[in-house]
């Protein structure tokens, strides 16, 4: 049990994992691991089509069992984040499908999914106008833990998920659990912004070194 940890756990990534997908990535933060499969732009059904933009569809698949409302919430949150970075106006009347298969859930799974999906988009070559980085922060009393594990999340009184636009540090996603104060939230944002810069640095370094 570490008291107040400001460092991210080790990040792992492997690209081109699935042969038939346009883009795929296996991404992990600590022991939390996701497999992301990106396909698109591809054909869209009549009911989902949009004449101005590509339709972004995200599916989050749990390790076992069917999706429940928690996974629906997770997938809408990831969908919103990715819709804000993908240049959807370039591919109207198509869809971009992102499937996130949870492989191992050991805390910070939402930020792991968002970061993995971002890397999947880059692997697929989908044009994006910015990089986004997501971070989960927990707080117990006055100690903050960045990128918590499952045990850290259970012990904490507050768990906050944040996603930032890498260019200007604006917030694309915020999701809080637990009771906190306004100043707690402000401090958590500051801590998370610093950690998000490190995630972004990893993403850039990874793709620069694995150009294929």
């Amino acid at each position: 049990a570490m008291a107040g940890r400001g460092r991210l756990r080790s990040i792992g990534c492997e690209r081109g994992v699935l042969n038939r997908a346009d883009g795929s990535v296996r991404y992990s933060q600590g022991n939390s691991c996701v497999l992301v499969c990106v396909n698109g732009p591809m054909r869209v059904s009549r009911k989902d089509e949009n004449i101005h933009n590509a339709t972004v569809q995200v599916f989050v698949k749990p390790i076992t069992g069917n999706e429940d409302i928690e996974h629906m919430l997770m997938s809408t949150m990831v969908e919103d984040c990715l819709s804000s970075v993908i240049l959807v106006k370039m591919h109207p009347l198509t869809r971009i499908q992102i499937v996130i298969q949870l492989l191992d859930v050991d805390g910070s799974i939402l930020s792991c999914a968002i970061n993995g999906a971002m890397m999947g988009l880059i692997d697929a070559g989908i044009q994006c106008n910015k990089l986004l980085a997501a971070v989960t922060v927990t707080q117990l009393d006055s100690e903050m833990i960045v990128d918590p594990s499952k045990d850290d999340e259970k012990r904490a009184s507050v768990v906050v998920n944040l996603a930032f636009n890498a260019n200007d540090q604006q917030i694309i996603l915020s999701n809080t659990n637990g009771l906190l104060s306004k100043s707690d939230y402000h401090n958590i944002i500051n801590t998370a912004q610093k950690a998000a810069l490190k995630v972004e640095k990893f993403m850039r370094k990874f793709f620069e070194s694995t150009m294929r």
């Binding site: 009911k47 809408t76 949150m77 919103d80 917030i171 915020s174 809080t176 306004k182 944002i189």
Partner: protein, 253 residues
Amino acid sequence: MDVRRTAVSLGSIKTADGSALAKVGGTTVACGLKLEVGIPSALKPKEGRFEVSLKLASLCSPEINKKSLGRTFVGNDKRIDAMAATIKKTIASSQMMNLEELCIKEGASVWVVYIDLVCVDFSGNIFDAALMAVGGALRSLQLPPTQIAEDGEVMLSREGKSSRLTIKRYPISISFGILDQKHIVADPTAEEEKLLEGRLSVAFTTDGHLCLVHKEGRESISSKRINDCLDIAEKYAEKMVKKHPKVFGFVAS
């Protein structure tokens, strides 16, 4: 930053174990609570549970089945389920009720509260109305007296009084629509919601704690703007306690 007129009435549905009807402007959400006996989880043998479901009734809007509603934050099933999950998390985060009060027999039987929300009139911003309706319904909830038969089955008993839940605090939310960096609208109407690309819901409890900051949608927002919204939401929660004392005010038990 104006919010439309709100109204909450308790106990409107007589067949439910607890109910409330909440309005924010024209948006009307009804909440019915149904109690069922369930088995507690092994890790928390003294705690009851609750489940939240949200539905848009077909009569709530003439555009209910049209694609235009699907483009907004409500209308398609996934977004509505996601909203129900957010409402459930807000209730859990706020710690408004003590789940141990739902215990019938430790380790064997607990009450499971099914919170069913139905939007009967859609004029934009379901989230705030839904959360108020849940608060009101939980306040009006009556737990019937029970007795346990020899075989362990729980039955309603004729003697004994119904009890109410002790509600420590109520979460009160205000939702903002984000059009772009400069324009943030509080309590968007249906027409406004169609144009919005981002939404921020902030909930404060009636005793001043922050229990939800939920930002979704494509538009990003700076942390300074979020702080401005937090200040507005804090004042709004205080105002609501004064405006609806019979629902959100304290009851001496």
